[in-house]
């Protein structure tokens, strides 16, 4: 039986890309994504991964190269963070409509200003409407596993959309953890070769990325949205088959001790593990608290989410980003809008924490639980910022 090895999570992602036999990596290094692409460049240079590594001059070029290589039928990977993602912005909106199934790891990091290299979710939230599938990993094994799942979902012919795999910068990407590496054969059995829906081929020329006139633009956007919404069933199937092949189970919405919980916390990403331990510690003291985690952020798993939170009395939504000019964070806005039409809904409160790398502790979740209970049935006019200096 395979034994786990102690590996930095960034390198586990690179190893997953190797195991997926990726054809093209085009990337520009940026903290804290750097170790992912450094290791990939070593794997290519040392002949462990038979791929073209394109060291581009900017992230805008990285994403442009990825779109081109994916359109030409190559399995394509890139990775970035923060300002790098921001610099890709115009190309990010193009990839989904061209149906180019690129996989991109984002080592999530705060956006400037002030300039900050540490973790929060402001980068991914800035591109939430771009049309990419968005997955969140909570630990190193998941980062590796979900990289493999990402290729499978992206390249599924019902989907053929790009996927972001979000791993919290530093607080996940730079951790050494026990990680099981599957074999090339196991991954090949799970991930079929990439057969693009359409591709750029000089033998059979087509045009991609044409002008969308007023007569066709809306239809193109709607068609992409239909495919993105429809991808949820493919994601669930990819999770189920991953479970069968590798024995590790993933769900679009994960729950932890939430069935009989009076107060439910909602999280995304690697803070969920700390939250689970906080839930355990609170449960030991008789607190009826549970946790719901969004593994799939886009397409938003609406039904699974409603099912997971509907029985709770209080729902404390935790955001890692301030949507400037709006009283609540982006995850809370999704939760509130979905719950508006629900026959019974919990009292919803919003807490923002862990911005720009501020440490997220078990105590923070305990404080949030008490505050959510105190606000039960009352209306909160604005998010509550947790763990700040006063």
């Amino acid at each position: 039986m395979a034994k786990p090895i102690g590996l930095e999570v960034s390198l586990a992602v690179s190893e997953a890309v190797r195991l997926c036999d990726c054809d093209v990596v085009a990337a520009y290094p940026i903290t804290p994504q750097t170790h992912i692409v450094e290791h990939l460049s070593e794997l290519v240079a040392n002949g462990h991964l038979n791929a073209a590594y394109i060291p581009v001059e900017s992230e805008q070029s990285a994403m442009s190269s990825c779109i081109g290589s994916s359109a030409a039928g190559a399995r394509t990977f890139t990775a970035t963070s923060s300002q790098g993602l921001a610099l890709m912005n115009e190309m990010l909106y193009i990839a989904p409509v061209l149906r180019t199934p690129i996989v991109m790891a984002i080592a999530n990091r705060a956006l400037s200003a002030p300039i900050n290299i540490w973790n929060d979710h402001s980068d991914i939230m800035s591109v939430r409407d771009a049309g990419w599938v968005g997955l969140f990993a909570e630990n190193g094994q998941e980062a590796l596993d979900l990289t493999i799942v990402s290729f499978r979902v992206a390249e599924d012919r019902q989907v053929s959309l790009p996927v972001t795999l979000n791993i919290d910068g530093f607080t996940l990407s730079h951790f050494i953890e026990p990680i099981l590496l599957p074999t090339l054969e196991e991954v090949a059995a799970y991930l079929p070769p990439f057969k693009p829906l359409v591709k750029l081929d000089i033998a059979k020329p087509i045009s991609m990325g044409l002008l969308g006139t007023p007569e066709s633009y809306a239809e193109s956007r709607k068609a992409t949205d239909d495919v993105l919404l429809g991808s949820l069933s493919v994601i669930k199937k990819a999770f189920a088959e991953f479970h069968k092949a590798f024995g590790r189970e993933y769900k679009a919405v994960e729950t932890y001790k939430s069935d009989d919980a009076e107060t439910v916390l909602l999280t995304m990403g690697s803070i969920s593990e700390t939250a689970m331990t906080a839930v355990d510690e609170m449960r030991e003291k008789g607190e009826k608290v549970g946790l719901v985690r969004l593994r799939v952020w886009r397409p938003f798993p609406s039904e699974d989410f409603l099912q997971a939170v509907s029985k709770a009395k209080n729902l404390a939504v935790i955001d890692r980003h301030i949507s400037l000019g709006v009283p609540f964070g982006p995850v809370c806005l999704e939760a509130k809008s979905l719950l508006y039409d629900a026959p019974a809904r919990p009292s919803v409160t919003n807490f923002i924490l862990g911005l720009g790398g501020r440490d997220v502790t078990r105590e923070d979740f305990k404080e949030i639980t008490q505050k959510a209970k105190a606000l039960s049935g009352k209306s909160q006019s604005r998010f509550d910022l947790i763990g700040v200096w006063e």
């Binding site: 034994k3 786990p4 090895i5 102690g6 930095e8 804290p32 290299i117 540490w118 530093f170 607080t171 996940l172 730079h174 951790f175 050494i176 953890e177 026990p178 690697s270 803070i271 593990e273 700390t274 689970m276 331990t277 790398g357 440490d359 997220v360 502790t361 078990r362």
Partner: protein, 184 residues
Amino acid sequence: MIEIRFHGRGGQGAVTSAELMAQTAIQRGKYAQAFPSFGPERRGAPVTAFLRISDKPIRVREKVYKPDVVVVLDPTVMNVTKVDAGLKPDGFLLVNTHRDGADLRKQYGFTQKIATLDAMSIAMEILNVPITNTVMLGVFAKILGEATPDDVREPFLNRFGATLASKNQAAFEKAYAESKLEAS
């Protein structure tokens, strides 16, 4: 679960220490987690790294605030950082210094058990560089019973390559043989 905090200066291998011990523990079938205190890394600036070792999966990613063990790779850090902050009353301090524990207690007010070793001399003698991490890992492994010289062989080889690994192995073993805990 034991929680360990490493204090050193950039370039002395505090982060590598935590990583190597995590890899050694994982190789021994335990769960472990190592991570640096992330910041703009500068050679010579005080740095911190964290390590958790457990028999069960570790589900917490906050920094280590109440360590069981504090490892000090550079004695000068004690002048600028309160290295025993949050250290449990029954915890240990493992310090690279040519001074003894009683002397440190007097100056810094430490109340926990202390093991000291002149790791710098061993590092200069065997490695010929002022990098004390694998020496202090020898102290750590011995006092905590978390690894034997055989356990670290493979992680050292993976990390340093054959030539450097054998020197680091020798430095580790010398520290392992010489370390003992002083009564408080």
